[in-house]
Symmetry: C2
């Protein structure tokens, strides 16, 4: 047992000493090793077409059109069903993606470097709210936005970041926590702080002020812009925590809309999966639980580093948005997550808890012993392809993943 | 007494129905009626040169050089002492200014219109932190910054705002309250939200991207940028509350570094003054209470509308910055201010108090009866001319002002 404690302390040390910096935006094909034509990276653990949920299928068909592999959405579905597209998890390529999490060759991805360890992680640019591809949207409006990100905003952000020193995300995130963000369902403060850092750099490299105004307005108009940055940051922080022999710390939690999967440090890249659960939450006018797709996305990497549902106390405003009770109840979520984590992050503190650090380092043993599942703040997609977001809520990670992981660790340590 | 209650309800109604919008930036000389050459508007109630404190004198000498009335700082002091400069309160010209509060012909002022009532208020652009004129700074670095505001940022903001619909401040401020701002000593959220609104408009009218990058970087680099906007907003909200016969609601609190003055609705533009108090707070490294100038500035207009010290519960991070205790103690300040106000503002709510509105409408009767003085969050200037900011703290409005105002009201109503 002492071996596990030491391994987990090392895991926590690596988490807390990470130094994630947003340094570039480049086409995925230029930076993701092994990414090929007709290959689609998706959120969550591995899954094939026949088991994919509606919004994931909708996104697959849409991105196939965007990439020029399919003539239209029907053709995209046909290619997928015929096995002519390859599907892999983002996590196997150093990437993460929110909700459906489509990552393909020609999409621009943000590059976050962990300057402590030198590893890099990647995430596409957040598309905004409503009918967007991450929620299964796939019509021309959705594809046109992806083309604009590819042709205008992505190159502009890349040029701006390359001539800057990069944007240090640890301090920016710390500041956002003091401004009511939890970085999963509320990112308005960090999105504003990021724009403050980016805007002068974007202006410095701009040649077309109309395009610049468009880029600034796009970022300024999206309160969730920072989500994808926080996700790439999470991946950059957690990747070096992998493969510590004996460690029971969770290095990734992720869902593909069908399965929920976790990875644990001591068992490397093995996925422990269980069926995803349904979020409980609030729906946009005209929608209800009957429209909702089950839990989906790589965005739970944010909870894996102690933010999102784990930092609910920092964001009383989000508690109402996700239907998690009033402001004074938000603190209870953070307290509960303290029961299943091995430490606190002294650099990410919550003012309303008198600067207590966010709970960091999910220990599968503590989850199994306590029966307390990680709480996740999440968006909710319509269950049919092409529809988009219908609400936001709270969902639990399935305990079965943690049970299976504990068995896996025990086998690995030869104690099962 | 019923007459007073009705008058105060009308005062509160006018406060709560105000609709302040940032619409323009123009040279003060173009918009402040009656502003002339060699006329200097200052913070607080009226004061002449011989009673002015050190930083106010420093600012006077500096602005005389900026305006071209004096050859150098010594010449500026000589002109002032010789009676060759005219001094008037900002408040008498529809304006407000932080700390020393210098407003003169060639400085750009932000224009806030109260769209409910049509009145306009004005405030200069915040210069940033450290050695700046509002804290008594007056060297070439300070004057060069004022020249850049006059020649670059002011005209750019004006052009950007004029081709926009303006920036609605009530909603923006409400959002800032959910992000940890109290709008006096903490404005980081609102400054970011304002930049989000302004940046695309600035880009739209830009002709020189280097100047645009400079402007964006200046706003982005100043966490207190919104303070002066909040002040003009406060003035625009409170001016229509003046002159309600019988009302005991405070319409302005202000200090010139020597005297603290308040105005009350039922007694119009009459000042009730008392000596200013010393802030209690925290000092920057190398400075202490022995360096501090007493309380100064028109910025207390922010407390007059229920923000600043009144909204301390919204900003646990500021409680530490101003030396007002830990986060959980911040709520006590807001609770106390509820004892001396006639209502709450349902549109400006505090998440951590389960969305209670900020205390609004200071009633001089309640202040006198309870002995609870309005709490003000404030910056602290060095007491010598030319030095700048040395700290931040909390200060009380002197009760003697409220005692005098109550007598004034009673006389006016013929009951004294």
């Amino acid at each position: 047992m002492e071996k596990i404690e030491l391994a987990n302390q090392e895991a926590l040390r690596r988490m807390l000493t990470a130094d994630p910096v947003l340094i570039d935006v480049l086409p995925a094909g230029e930076v993701l090793t092994g990414l090929e034509e007709r290959m689609i990276l998706h959120a969550g653990p591995p899954i094939e077409w026949d088991r994919m949920c509606g919004p994931m299928r909708g996104a697959i068909a849409g991105i196939a059109v965007f990439e020029g592999w399919a003539r239209d959405l029907e053709d995209g579905e046909r290619l997928a069903a015929a096995g002519e597209l390859m599907f892999h998890p983002n996590h196997d390529f150093g990437a993460v993606g929110p909700m459906t999490g489509m990552t393909t060759l020609r999409q621009p991805v943000m590059v976050v470097e962990n300057r402590t360890t030198g590893n890099r992680s990647y995430c596409t640019i957040n598309e905004g709210l409503g009918k967007v591809m991450r929620f299964g949207g796939n019509d021309e409006e959705v594809l046109d936005r992806l083309r604009w990100l590819r042709d205008v905003l992505g190159p502009a952000m890349g040029a701006a970041l390359r001539q800057s020193d990069g944007i240090a995300l640890k301090v920016l995130t710390a500041r956002g926590l003091t401004m009511g963000d939890e970085m999963h369902q509320r990112n308005v403060a960090c999105s504003g702080l990021l724009l403050r850092a980016l805007a002068p750099e974007l202006a410095r490299v701009a040649t077309d002020t109309a395009a610049l105004a468009e880029s600034l307005a796009f970022i300024a108009g999206n309160d969730q812009f920072y989500l994808n940055v926080a996700m790439a940051m999470g991946k950059a922080i957690m990747d070096p925590v992998r493969d510590i022999e004996g460690s029971t710390i969770v290095t990734a939690m992720s869902r593909n809309g069908t399965d929920f999967g976790i990875r644990v440090s001591g068992t490397g890249d093995r996925w422990f999966t269980a069926p995803v659960e349904m979020p409980e939450g609030l729906y946009f006018p005209g929608y209800g639980a009957e429209d909702a797709n089950p839990d989906m996305g790589d965005s739970t990497i944010v909870e894996t580093i102690g933010l999102g549902g784990f930092a609910m106390a920092a964001a009383p405003a989000v508690a109402g948005f996700v239907g998690a009770g009033n402001a004074s109840e938000a603190a209870l979520f953070t307290r509960d997550m303290g029961e299943i984590t091995v430490g606190e992050n002294p650099e990410w503190t919550i003012p309303s808890l008198d600067y207590q650090g966010v709970p960091a380092g999910i220990d599968v043993r503590l989850v199994v012993e306590s029966g307390i599942a990680p709480t996740i703040n999440t968006g909710i997609a319509h269950k049919e392809p092409g529809r988009g977001q219908v609400g936001a809520g709270v969902v639990k990670a399935p305990l079965a993943c943690f049970d299976a992981a504990l068995v896996g660790i025990a086998e690995r340590l030869g104690v099962a």
